[in-house]
């Protein structure tokens, strides 16, 4: 691959740091599967605790789909962390390594370098999320088979087996979309500093603080909540609603997209005019 984008992709995936995400997911997902295989009933009971007194739940509810949707809860904190490892390193890593001096003295605009790096970040994020979902699903189906999906929550939602797969694809796509916003924030922080640790900690700090602010039932915080991007990160859960409220999905997706573009725009502004002193 001689193309600039191809090289960026190669650089990212050949870096040991990037493999942390895949190694972690590759280790944790089977571990959770084994745990559920041995003692999964407890989890199922807790998932159905709100409705168990009023309904009889029949069929194979402990199935691959349930396990996958359960594991997708790692999208709150764990997966964002793994994504910032890669996204936060995109620009700052070049500064740390001194390799900006190799790239930016070429007859290529900084905008192009930035955009190829951003595209690589998006690809990396996509592969991390897809890897999580695909591994959970394949391993889950192999161990637990298929069935209707019981969606944990206060009300009883059961997605019939025939509909689960396309909804799961939708959840995966929307999860990627949300994680792109997280990646964009890490990318923005990455454009500011010369070491990847800052962007990783910074992004996680922002996410955690925003979650906290969004979940405290105080008037002031609830007024701020619509302006925090973390409010919309649960976008992927919307696909479990029966029927799906498409207007909510579109609004949330548009807002997250807006944040992503905003973060990218800011990083472009910083990067295009920055003095390279590393």
């Amino acid at each position: 691959m001689r193309s600039v984008l191809g090289n960026e992709i190669l650089k990212t995936y050949r870096k040991w740091r990037s493999s942390i995400a895949f190694v972690t997911i590759g280790a944790v997902v089977p571990l959770v599967h084994i745990a559920l295989y041995l003692q999964g009933d407890a989890l199922l009971k807790s998932a159905a605790r709100g409705v168990a007194q009023d309904f009889f739940l029949l069929g194979n509810l402990m199935n691959g789909y349930f396990v996958t949707s359960f594991l997708m809860n790692s999208l709150w904190i764990h997966i964002p962390f793994l994504i910032t490892l890669g996204a936060g390193d995109q620009l700052a890593g070049e500064a740390t390594g001194g390799t900006f001096r190799l790239l930016l003295i070429r007859p290529t605009s900084r905008t192009k370098v930035l955009l190829t790096k951003y595209a690589t970040t998006l690809l990396y994020t996509l592969t991390v999320v897809v890897f999580l979902v695909l591994l959970s699903l394949l391993l889950g189906i192999a161990l637990f088979g298929t069935g209707d999906l019981l969606v944990p929550g206060r009300t009883l939602v059961i997605v019939p087996e025939s509909e689960v797969l396309w909804r799961l694809c939708g959840a995966c796509a929307l999860a990627v979309w949300g994680m792109w916003t997280v990646a964009s924030l890490a990318f923005l922080f990455s454009s500011l500093v010369e070491n990847a640790i800052g962007p990783i900690i910074g992004t996680m700090a922002v996410i955690i603080v925003f979650y906290v602010v969004g979940n405290i039932p105080v008037d002031l915080f609830q007024q701020i909540k619509p302006y925090l991007f973390t409010t919309y990160l649960n976008l992927w859960q919307e696909v479990w609603a029966v029927p799906i409220v498409w207007s909510d999905v579109i609004t949330s997706a548009a807002i997250l997209g807006g944040f992503s573009v905003g973060f990218l725009g800011l990083s472009w502004y910083i990067f295009a005019t920055k003095d390279i002193l590393s």
Binding site: S3, V4, G97, L103, L104, I105, R106, P107, L277
Partner: protein
């Protein structure tokens, strides 16, 4: 179009301020096609900042850079396509092979022929190790790979920032020979920075000395090195007698005594006269060591004896801003 008599590289009043401090100020450099231009200055003089401005890594606060008669700011991509550069330490993607690193550079450069990566690797003698990870390279090999990436596309001018730093004597000699070959065989113009006078002296055809962000002198190496009187170190006994003889020799300038050692400035052709007089006066001469004034001058800058270095004897510091050669040729 770029005219042949026009400077290949020219900076006018180039300056860079970091917060309060000026790293480079009113820098006027002129480099002509075919020169090996030595950019000499002590550490922290502003060499790297200047080179970063020449390669568009850092945006000048004042002034402009012109290459091939075109402004770097206005024709950035066009100009950079014709330059190769190595800035400070040779840093690479350590987890990739030397060849892969060059492929990354080549893809960004765009106009690199097939087989050219092998060619530049061969020039710097790295072809055999090309497929090893850069992590496994010695410092000298990284330095050579750094030169190789600057040569990709065989640009009209290569800008090398301290290319021999950290090399062993053999490595230094190889780089020096390589630079000569680039000029002679490929008619490249070479811009070379160094903090060592003798290095510039051995490789460059013209030079500028920079200190505290300003060009102190600029001109052809030959003319600058022969400019001014020599500084002669005299070791003779008795010292008092030697001093007495010295004061009688015409042309002797400032005389300094430091214990048993005397230093004085005098024209080159007077050394033999002085020697003869000393011997005639029955004085035991154990050493007469001539040093060129440029060397002395540069030493005084590097030692950082004062913020503002003393003026070079026989040469006028280039404060005019014209970038012209400013050496007064000694008569005779």
């Amino acid at each position: 179009m770029h005219r042949p008599d026009e400077p290949l590289l020219q900076t006018t009043n180039l300056g860079k301020r970091y917060k309060r401090r000026w790293a480079v100020r009113n820098l006027n450099l002129t480099v002509h096609r075919g020169e090996v231009f030595g950019f000499l200055g002590p550490n922290g003089a502003g060499k790297s900042t200047t080179i970063r401005m020449l390669l568009s890594l850092v945006k000048p606060t004042t002034g402009a850079v012109k290459l091939f008669g075109k402004s770097l700011r206005g024709h950035r991509r066009e100009v950079l396509a014709r330059i190769g550069g190595l800035v400070e330490r040779p840093d690479f993607y350590l987890y990739l092979s030397g060849r892969k690193n060059l492929e990354i550079v080549a893809a960004l450069k765009g106009d690199v022929r097939d087989g050219e990566i092998d060619e530049v690797l061969d020039i710097v003698g790295l072809l055999r190790r090309a497929d090893d990870k850069v992590k496994t390279y010695s410092h000298g090999m990284k330095q050579r790979l750094g030169i190789a990436q600057a040569l990709l596309g065989f640009p009209e001018i290569v800008i090398l920032d301290e290319p021999t730093s950290g090399l062993d004597p053999q490595g230094i000699k190889e780089v020096r020979d390589l630079i000569r070959r680039l000029r002679d065989d490929r008619s490249m113009t070479v811009f070379l920075s160094s903090h060592l006078l003798h290095e510039i002296e051995q490789t460059a055809t013209s030079m500028a000395i920079i200190n505290a962000g300003t060009v102190m002198v600029q001109g052809s190496v030959q003319e600058l090195l022969s400019a001014g009187d020599l500084v002669l170190r005299v070791e003779a006994r008795p010292v008092e007698g030697a001093l007495r003889v010295l004061s009688g020799v015409p042309g002797v300038g400032e005389v300094k005594r430091d214990g048993e050692v005397i230093e004085c400035s005098l024209p080159r052709e007077r050394i033999s006269t002085l020697n003869q007089r000393l011997v005639e006066a029955g004085i035991e001469v154990s050493a007469l060591v001539p040093k060129r004034s440029l060397e002395e001058y540069f030493l005084s800058i590097t030692e950082g004896a004062s913020e503002m270095a003393p003026a070079l004897p026989g040469a006028r510091p280039d404060r005019s801003g014209t970038g012209q050669l400013s050496v007064d040729h000694p008569e005779g």
